[in-house]
């Protein structure tokens, strides 16, 4: 197995294991830490596909800002293992069966999609993930959605402040 194959399987196993541990952990702080591990594994996949800009942005935005925000909220509310709501065992089994059957349906789609079986190869190297090429397309073709996202952020900030206000 070449190095890229080995890295792919290792990162995939790490991502799936950490995602399962997000579900299984009783302490919410542990769930946040396992989710950060998932984000690092997915960023590793991005680097493997040479999408360098997205890998760095994923780590900075998701693991660095959003998860830290989650940790702040959890620590503000002092959530721990004891304050976790009790859960019926049958609901857990029903949820697992529902998600498992969805996964089986989706995986069977892969087996039946013959069009994907000959579009088979995917590159590990390439230039479209570099920030120069992404920036060229972003600021020429997609500049209007880019400016609209600034308005989106403004509205999100105003909304968060208004919702969090004590009156």
């Amino acid at each position: 197995m070449s190095a890229t194959h080995f890295l792919f399987w290792f990162l995939s196993a790490l991502a799936v294991f950490s995602a399962l541990m997000v579900l299984i952990s009783k302490n919410p702080v542990h769930s946040v830490l396992w989710l950060i591990a998932v984000f690092f594994a997915i960023s590793g996949h991005y680097i493997l596909m040479n999408a360098q800009f997205l890998a760095i942005v994923n780590i900075i935005v998701y693991a660095g800002a959003i998860m830290v925000l989650f940790l702040f909220v959890i620590m503000l509310m002092n959530l721990g293992k004891e304050t976790e709501p009790r859960k019926n065992i049958w609901m857990k089994i029903a949820g697992a069966i529902a998600a498992g059957s969805l996964l089986m349906i989706l995986v069977s789609l892969i087996g039946q999609a013959t069009e994907m079986s000959h579009r088979n190869m995917m590159m590990k190297e390439g230039e479209i993930g570099l920030i120069k090429n992404l920036g060229k397309v972003l600021f020429t073709q997609y500049v209007v959605p880019f400016e609209i996202t600034s308005i989106l952020f403004l509205s999100a900030m105003v909304g968060a402040v208004v919702i969090g206000k004590k009156d």
Binding site: M77, M121, I128, N133
Partner: protein, 113 residues
């Protein structure tokens, strides 16, 4: 690397996220599983953008240098929207906690009486 491996990995992560939304009752964990689902979709979009690039390079099209960038730019915008949504969602959760002093999702059922 065949594209099916990435499709199946993304499906597995997505269904683990769905299982988390259905099973857990803590609203913060539910929110984190929604982020997990978004990340699974991001991974699939980047994989498809690379597949598109590989096919265009194979066929030798004229614009073969920039043919898959739309997928990765869409992932960038998904991350933007996810960041905005997390800030508002956490504000709502904090406000809910301030009112009822619990983050249990079933607790809100009692609001209807």
């Amino acid at each position: 690397m065949p594209i099916n491996y990435y499709i199946i990995l993304s499906f597995v992560l997505f269904s683990i996220g769905i299982a988390g939304v259905l099973v857990r009752r803590n609203t913060i964990i539910i929110f984190m599983c929604i982020e997990l689902m978004l990340n699974a979709v991001n991974l699939l979009l980047v994989a498809f953008s690379k597949m598109h690039y590989a096919i265009a390079n194979h066929a030798g099209a004229s614009n073969h240098a920039t043919v898959g960038t739309e997928g990765q730019l869409f992932v960038f915008f998904i991350m933007v929207v996810a960041a905005a949504e997390v800030s508002i969602g956490l504000a709502i959760i904090v406000m809910m906690y301030r009112n009822v002093h619990s983050v249990d999702a079933n607790f809100l059922n009692r609001l209807k009486n």
